[in-house]
Subunit: 356 residues, 4 copies
């Protein structure tokens, strides 16, 4: 019920605002005796951390995560793991002038209408800063999943520019500032995004998350379908406007013959000959790679002046001078990975509960 | 947690298999003193009912809904409303030959792996027959929403063929067997789908659901976002592979200037000048129309022979002779409407709880 | 959230009113491939069934349970099990005169204030008839627990008359109409309760539920403590006003030395030398017998005239002429057993989820 | 599901161990625009704080609470409120010798069996130190309830010594170190407890919580009954072994005539002439005072040597030299108040959701 918690058995609760003293997450339901330390979690947070290239916001946050509970002598104890990240580079002054105006594309207006109060500093609770907590939780989820399950993400489209899937090379994603698996596309995007950035504009993106090593049998009918939980998880990320599993919207254009993945016995086990389904049938994992994609809208904070109104009901205009990402989709890659890892960890435990 | 329940405050639980004696749904959390009778619910069930045109399965099910509890003298009492629908036209013999073989594209394989047991008759629990329960629950949800909120759906793409949005006319959707708002597209689809049907093939579809009259302020940060719940709701429908809100995946290609909806005072109230966001900002309704779309894969049951394996691990082939929909997306329209209505009813109550 | 559901992983939802067409329960989360049939569930329902002695209401209900889903070829499938019981002997005329008056001790007044509508026939949803659904769910829970766990209940106090615990013999509970484990007390109670019954009065009772065979390690800190869930489960039964675990309220009078159960290695395993704790420490089962007790208030429907008011705010009086139990606590024994079985089944699955 | 969260709409999640760096709680679902500051919460924490008399543990903890999120310019924002309390006086050395031995009456053994790992320092997660987080959450709950609802607690029995209810004076509870409403009993207890303390023993207690100002209509049938949630809330407190509502176990001894509270129109409104029910009928508040009691077992840490075993399965003995409460029930009074306040705040929101 609580709007700031996610998951069922592997469940986390996040708290904190962009310009408060800290943000954090409490992760509950973690199995005991898993080796864990702050460095293991920091690895994932560093991937999401801003200010690492000219293509992300220049806000300087070390995002150093601290474990406050749930760990004893280097092992999880089965009790809730509280993780905390101090806010360091807050610069509240950047935001003073937007105090009374609703930024188009942001949650300013809806928060104001709903709550009648708004922490306008950096978006408050609606800031993408909250996603650091998700990444921390995702780090714990990966420990629950173990080495057998690998969750990786890649940017497959920036603005209107898609990768050439024939060029896909997972090794490339660490070699460019975009988590792009297509070396050529990454080069093109660098030129493209520099233009966007210099003009003070922004652009959207599509991210693909692939989970390999997931055994068949995770997920449930009907409202706890693995894909339904993935859809909820990914749509809950700031600025996401669409989610796909497997062929996604392209499946609508296919014939039944083209879409349904055939089975054959190979090396003594049943194997699918294709993966249009994205590794999920009837809400349950099939043993194939889980493939999910999500679309991120362009960053709403842009330099161009935009029409808006004040909280007092007066027409005005606004343009954003703060530090922002020209393509917030880039930093959504580790966030998407984290959310998928959390869903999978949850369903690993759920599957164990019902079917042992 | 329970995989067969949906919602938080307005919450329903479905049960039943395709070829069991009945299916049903228990709807909990309904406010008291709402006028309700079986006819009001039957209206919505009749829209989903099979066998009404040559483009849906010829299984003949009256889908007569019966209210077993929660209603007294024509009014809801605030206690759970149990709704039951008898299964009439079951014809189990149709399915005997697929008892030991996994139908590609269906949940046969994953249910078998997960549960080690499978009600193979008509897909058992994974059958789209379960969606009748959702439509019944959606009927109750509409009563909770009241006349001020209208939830309507339309088929906007069949196979590769999209409507021309310039032709959109809500009055058309009742005039063709496809819930198509574009008269010309409906005519074209009739020809197209006849070809698909006669060849024993199938095709996918995209459905758009529009909710009007939703006040600003429904929804919550962050994991109970209105769009996250909509994504979960729609992705939980059988055969759905993608969900979008507002511009959806197209938002990835937009610039920040094009995407962020501007605000202006009009007639004394703040109004948006466009609706790329689909009526949701930061997970909270903005007062605009809520716009969601979902993609349905082509029906997996097709006449063409397809490779598969048996439950004993032997290569074999299968083709479906039973009664099926050439485009199951058509009947997904009332199901999508119902799920959106349920999410909105839930968030209406949630909003009232926290902010009075 | 939904007020008519209980449990987390093993979760059931009940519906139905005393004088509606039927009552029922949907049990979700059941592991697959458990042998089950209607007779196995009927066994437990027959123990709660009214009209079996002169000490329970003479309402004649066969309480025949029907399985509508979730079972295939005699085995659970892992999908929701819908159970339904027809209401047969409703006699609505019995209740016509109490339509506009609140019966003292009943929920009439609070339902009216809360909902503004009231199914006055037999208490509607607040009738103890709902407990038949709990017993049906408990029958499924016992299958989940397996033969290794035994859940038994006994009446240990009727009105002011307690059993002599030195006489405790589980074999006696089936030999008297009270589920009393003390042969002598049962004989005394028969005389006592006849007096209560003939005078049109009623009396309360205390029930003790003992679960043996529960392994150490079920339960969780802190708000999912096994005893917290048991307390919720038992207090949710109609007319229950108190719950105890182990020594319960008597523990308040003990010294630390007397209360804390010591441990010794016996036959190679750690064993407790006493069981003041009632088999639960820190919310987690210790491997000893789980011992819970609950107090049931006297039946509120009595022959004596009692002061009350009408729904229109007029002073009046009421006395109950319908069929009622002189000691509703008797029939609460199988209900208490069922609730304890449901809590244990739930925690069995929860334990498996987190700690494998 | 998550074992460290409590509540539905007003929901809190606690974390932290006795000897970790800090403990804390995240409170979600709080309505916006409620005035709040750290001093308002500190008031309640100071009541539970140890070391204030010779009758509580001499551990010196300032228990200074810090608000980390969810508050802006002195008002709640509707987003999660993170509260944190540093652990200051940890003295881990006190506990080194009990590292490998299970303390009788504590959760040491069950945590070890369940998790296979145990933070033995001060009981780790099972320490009563966690209750400080509950009290902090309770402070927020009181803000949600507003001034119209008052939640007060009193010690009504220490060891075998009960108060004389005729002497009840709420003004007395702040004038003695026991929260005792009976001046004479308080004087007697001081003598009694000094004896217990000096002998290194301990004693149990019974606490009564009274909530006044609760309107009729809060609570729900059947598994979200107000009393069922109170039972769960109070039984979840460390060392609690029993919970009663209204007359509780004494109700079992009453006749139907004596137990059922009659109604009369007084000053134009329906009023009950007695309150055996403890303010709850059918799980829903009646508008009378809510009365709940709970029994706390004697502190398990005592000076006398007690038999136990080691984690390696060897017989041994143990006696506790650390700082402990001779009657932990004293400090349970503010904890019980806090839990009742949280349940009521939750049901206030739940009631508003369903019935407006």
């Amino acid at each position: 019920m609580a709007g700031n918690s996610f998951g069922h058995l592997f469940r986390f609760t996040t708290w904190g605002e962009s310009h408060g003293p800290a943000i954090g997450v409490v992760v509950d339901g973690v199995p005991p005796r898993l080796p864990i330390d702050e460095a293991a979690l920091q690895h994932w947070l560093d991937r999401r951390r801003p200010g690492q290239s000219r293509f992300t916001t220049q806000r300087q946050e070390p995002d150093a995560v601290r474990i406050l509970s749930g760990v004893f002598e280097g092992l999880t104890t089965g009790t809730p793991i509280a993780l905390e990240i101090q806010n360091v580079d807050q610069r509240s002054k950047d935001y003073a002038e937007i105090k009374d105006r609703f930024r188009p594309g942001h949650a300013d207006y809806t928060y104001w209408i709903k709550y009648g109060i708004r922490d306008y500093r950096g978006g408050g609770r609606s800031s993408a800063r909250e996603t650091a907590s998700r990444v921390a939780a995702g780090g714990v989820a990966r420990l629950v999943l173990g080495d057998g399950v690998q969750v990786r993400g890649a940017l497959v489209q920036m603005g209107p520019h898609k990768i050439n899937r024939a060029n896909w090379d997972w090794n490339e994603i660490e070699r460019n500032p975009f988590w792009c698996p297509d070396k050529q596309a990454a080069a093109d995007w660098e030129f493209y995004l520099d233009g966007v950035r210099k003009s003070g504009s922004s652009t959207g993106a599509v991210i693909e998350i692939v989970a390999s090593g997931v055994p068949a049998g995770w997920g449930s009918p009907l409202y706890r379908k693995l894909d339904a939980d993935l859809a909820s998880a990914l749509m809950s990320i700031n600025a996401v406007k669409g989610v796909e599993i497997g062929d996604g919207f392209d499946a609508a254009s296919l014939s039944g013959e083209a879409n349904a993945d055939e089975l054959r016995m190979i090396d003594g086990t049943a194997q699918f000959l294709s993966n249009h389904a994205g590794g999920i049938l009837g809400g349950i994992s099939s043993g194939q790679e889980i493939v999910a994609r999500f679309a991120v809208k362009p960053t709403s904070s842009i330099l161009a002046e935009r029409q808006t109104v004040t909280i007092d009901g007066t027409d005005t205009a606004i343009h954003t001078k703060g530090r922002h990402d020209p393509c917030v989709g880039i930093r959504a890659v580790p966030v998407g990975e984290a959310m998928v890892a959390c869903v999978l960890a949850d369903h690993k435990l759920l599957a164990r509960a019902q079917t042992g």
